[in-house]
Subunit: 343 residues, 2 copies
């Protein structure tokens, strides 16, 4: 076994999955949703993506108990055109809607070369890399985008307007370890700032402004004020793009609207998610294998430079380690094991 | 007339267009290409986008004279599927290929909801905002991406691998002034660093490393070393995404390959360009007008914050001013007027 850091334990991926399933069934969530969430959390925990792993179970349970998310209705897939798909999640959690929508997206993109999928009216709490990975594993280049609750000021501004508005992109190669990135368009995630506050540490300059609009390194002031986009006006423009395409484009909420309807139960926000997928096989003039080899040459050249790490490499290393069990915080595990008790 | 800064003159947009057309015809470029380039340059000059305006005529002429670009062959449009379009530019300049491809992209996106267009084997020298503006004016959300010649190190690295790899996105509203951004994924454009070198000024920290791999504020060292991506590992991931989708995805060159085939004539690099367009009209559940109004509310809320400027606002203000004539450097104009003389 790999060594486990202090205050952590390794439990099998089957145990992670069973803990999620049993906890969610225990609070009354319908089985298809409980199973889809269990798969989503287990994949994140296997990749040591702790922010989207078992920690998320707390929020899912909170939103079942608060009545925010529907417990027993099923998402509905529809098509506007052969390449425009929509899943109406009907105010349920996103994982089942994504499991229904992504295979249809893959089929449409493989048939026509490009397709889009809107997940509508869902509570989204999963990692975007995991949302697109099945499409990438199927051989597609794929993106997804979702909004958040407004907590980010546009570049030059000082008041919350945008969400952390993440972007994920994946490229279907090399096999076993596709190039997939997934990042917030804010300089830092809200959770990172909350961790700094609990630890009594300052945050770096450039992450946030306080309620007075002045730059701050005090995490409490930052949380009361506004986060800033990454990369100045360029990151801000990308955040605005996500706001538009995962909001008004697909007929779903903006980050301000998502914040306005939030009940504060610590669970996921309401909103939509946009996927786009392209099949590299439809392009020429070289064969697909030749073109994938050109891409691999770019990755290889990047890796030859000391100090360069490609997105997702750390996750794939964690995934390999997790075959012998996923690393879990002992304190979190103890808390989770009490969760299915009556609330 | 608006006041003209020192060393500039205002000439009518018709004069800008005629100067481009006559100069390019004078060096032997076929008329369809000369007219498409004249339109492209005139639009950039009207928006006071000087880096892509009349200044570019020098490079176009250089590449006609060096024989790099084909003078008299026509780009060829083809379709792999109803929503995957391709224009083989056959080693001609990009503007005519784009003028042929984008209307077909608009038609496909309006019919099916989403479509992609690959411009293949072209010499690209135009501003990406101008490349997508016709699709955005037609009511579509649209992106385009192109590579450059390798001069940017991936985050953490020190050697050139990626191009400046720009991204443009446009949203079809509000009318007359759509939201369109267009930026390099490098911290700064190569041209900005060249200007600093000529002015004898240092560049900011974070723009580049020297040939020894150490951070530098010396523009000459930066040009001999490598530029850095904007926004750290996030900007670097986006640059890699552009490299993949405007290169191997569409079967065209990577930035390293583009640099390797470059003849150094100061004209545009060889490569490809990818467009994606989505028709917001195909989505629901609210009407298109309602959803465009939601987007306008986001723009209005951003503008209410002092210090926030939306992308392209400066260009639209310039465009309005240019109705009475475009602002042109007097020295550049004098140089251009000698260009059509035998080289």
């Amino acid at each position: 076994m790999s060594p486990t850091p202090a205050d952590t334990v390794r439990i099998s991926l089957d145990e992670v999955h069973a803990l999620c399933r049993d906890t969610l069934l225990g609070v009354g969530l319908a089985e298809p949703h409980a199973l889809a969430i269990a798969r989503s959390i287990t994949r994140a925990q296997a990749d040591e993506c702790h922010s989207h792993g078992l920690y998320r179970l707390l929020g899912y349970v909170a939103s079942v108990r608060s009545g925010k998310a529907a417990r027993d209705v099923l998402p509905v897939l529809s098509r506007t055109t052969p390449v425009i798909l929509r899943v109406d999640a009907r105010r349920t959690f996103a994982p089942l809607a994504i499991e229904i929508g992504v295979p249809a997206l893959v089929e449409a993109a493989k048939t026509y070369g490009i397709a889009a999928l809107a997940i509508h009216d869902c509570y989204h709490f999963s990692a975007l890399w995991a949302d697109i990975e099945p499409a990438v594993d199927a051989g597609l280049a794929a993106w997804c985008f979702t909004i958040g609750q407004s907590c980010v000021a546009p570049a030059g501004g000082t008041r919350p307007l945008l969400g952390t508005n993440p972007i994920a992109f994946g490229w279907p190669g090399p096999k076993q370890a596709p190039f997939i990135f997934d990042f917030a368009t804010s300089a830092a995630a809200r959770g990172e700032i909350e961790l700094k506050r609990r630890a009594g540490e300052p945050i770096p300059q450039g992450w946030a402004v306080g309620p007075d609009g002045a730059p701050t390194t005090d995490p409490a002031q930052a949380l009361a004020g506004a986060l800033l986009p990454f990369g100045g006006h360029k990151g801000s423009a990308l955040s605005m793009m996500v706001e538009l395409i995962a909001g008004p484009l697909i007929g779903d909420l903006t980050s301000r609207q998502a914040a306005a309807v939030e009940n504060g139960d610590s669970g996921p926000p309401l909103g939509g998610e946009l996927f786009i997928a392209i099949d590299p096989a439809v392009f020429g003039p070289a064969t697909l294998d030749q073109r994938l080899a050109e891409a691999d040459a770019v990755f290889a050249a990047a890796r030859q430079q000391p100090g360069v790490r490609l997105p997702s490499e750390r996750r794939y290393a964690a995934r390999a380690r997790s075959r012998e069990g996923a690393l879990v915080s002992a304190a979190l595990l103890a808390e989770l094991r009490t969760l299915s008790e009556p609330g």
